[in-house]
Subunit: 206 residues, 2 copies
């Protein structure tokens, strides 16, 4: 399976496909066409076919895509066929909310460690996790084979936390802090700053 420069836009659509395919699976739907998908997801059918064709020939001409097979394939592509351990730094309101979130459990991703720099938060329980001090981060990340880090600290601390994540061997970061973070090229970083999101929404008000 060779991957000739997959654009980020394509990668971002794969989880969308997967989510709806899972719904179809639950409804016992066997087969789906690109135009079915396109209609439901507000996407162009040609785009969906093209996206999928980057990774292989998953469909059958005249028939469409087998739902279960396509789920399996997309999960492989997204590496969701293996367990992926996630760490989170910043046990504030948002950090706790995300840690409690179990929605991704079914996708083999799980927050397995939570850290905070504040003495007073260390030792707190969040579900079945205990907030650990920053000093334990490197050790824990290595021993638990944690590969993705989530940042939910104030903007002023975000770069520092990212640096520590990288030092600890994290491969990808999801940053919720409203800050630009500099990372080496080999580290993948996505931003999920909802103040930015809200502000750009305001633009579209009359």
């Amino acid at each position: 399976m060779k991957t000739p420069k997959i654009s980020e836009a394509v990668v971002r659509r794969l989880p969308i496909y997967l989510r709806y395919l899972n719904v179809l699976h639950l409804q016992n739907v066997q087969t789906v066409s690109s135009s079915d998908l396109g209609q439901k997801l507000d996407l162009n059918p040609a785009q969906i076919r093209k996206d999928l064709a980057y990774f292989g020939e998953f469909g059958k001409k005249g028939i469409g895509y087998d739902v279960n097979y396509l789920i399996e394939k997309i999960r492989q592509i997204l590496k969701l066929d293996q367990f992926i351990q996630v760490a989170l730094v910043g046990a504030g309101n948002l950090g706790r909310a995300l840690s409690n979130y179990n929605a991704f459990l079914k996708d083999n991703m799980k927050i397995v460690a939570v850290f905070d720099a504040m003495e007073s938060k260390v030792g707190d329980k969040i579900n079945n996790l205990t907030v650990q001090p920053m000093q334990e981060m490197k050790q824990t990340i290595k021993s638990m084979n944690i590969r993705i880090g989530i940042i939910t600290v104030p903007a002023s601390e975000a770069q520092h936390v990212a640096d520590e994540f990288i030092q600890s061997g994290i491969e990808a970061i999801l940053n919720f802090a409203p800050a630009i973070i500099k990372v080496p090229n080999e580290i993948r970083i996505h931003h999920a700053d909802f103040t930015t999101e809200l502000q750009s929404l305001a633009f579209y008000l009359d």
Copy 2:
């Protein structure tokens, strides 16, 4: 100020510019050039100049942009020069975390009402807000002149909540539920689903 088809990509960068300009303002920096900005934000300077030029001639040739003036202008463009009231539905962990978030206070956006369909949550206090029942939504949204709605309910409820928002006269929606939501063309909807975000991150793991 005419706006000849501003692309979404442009609108999404404006809050990023604003955020960094606010930092410069706090540092008493008077003037900034597009290449300064570009370096700090990892963007092409030509792109920054072009983005801003959609809305007016804010810079001075040979000098750059006056920080305070540009802040004022971008705030106008994003409509952050007026108070914008926000409602939130779904007083779960994430909903409570967002309601507590005061980071956008400085930008004149504020969550002023929280709703939940569960009897047991109605009446709960979140900071200085009281969780209201869904039946009060339409009335509250109209009387408080709420224009943006945030959805933090389970995916299965998201479409229903969106429909109620729209019925109540909401103009734009920020959806945190992992679901595709159908809305009329005149309603703006942004998605902030972090499971999707995490899954696309996984793709980039080795």
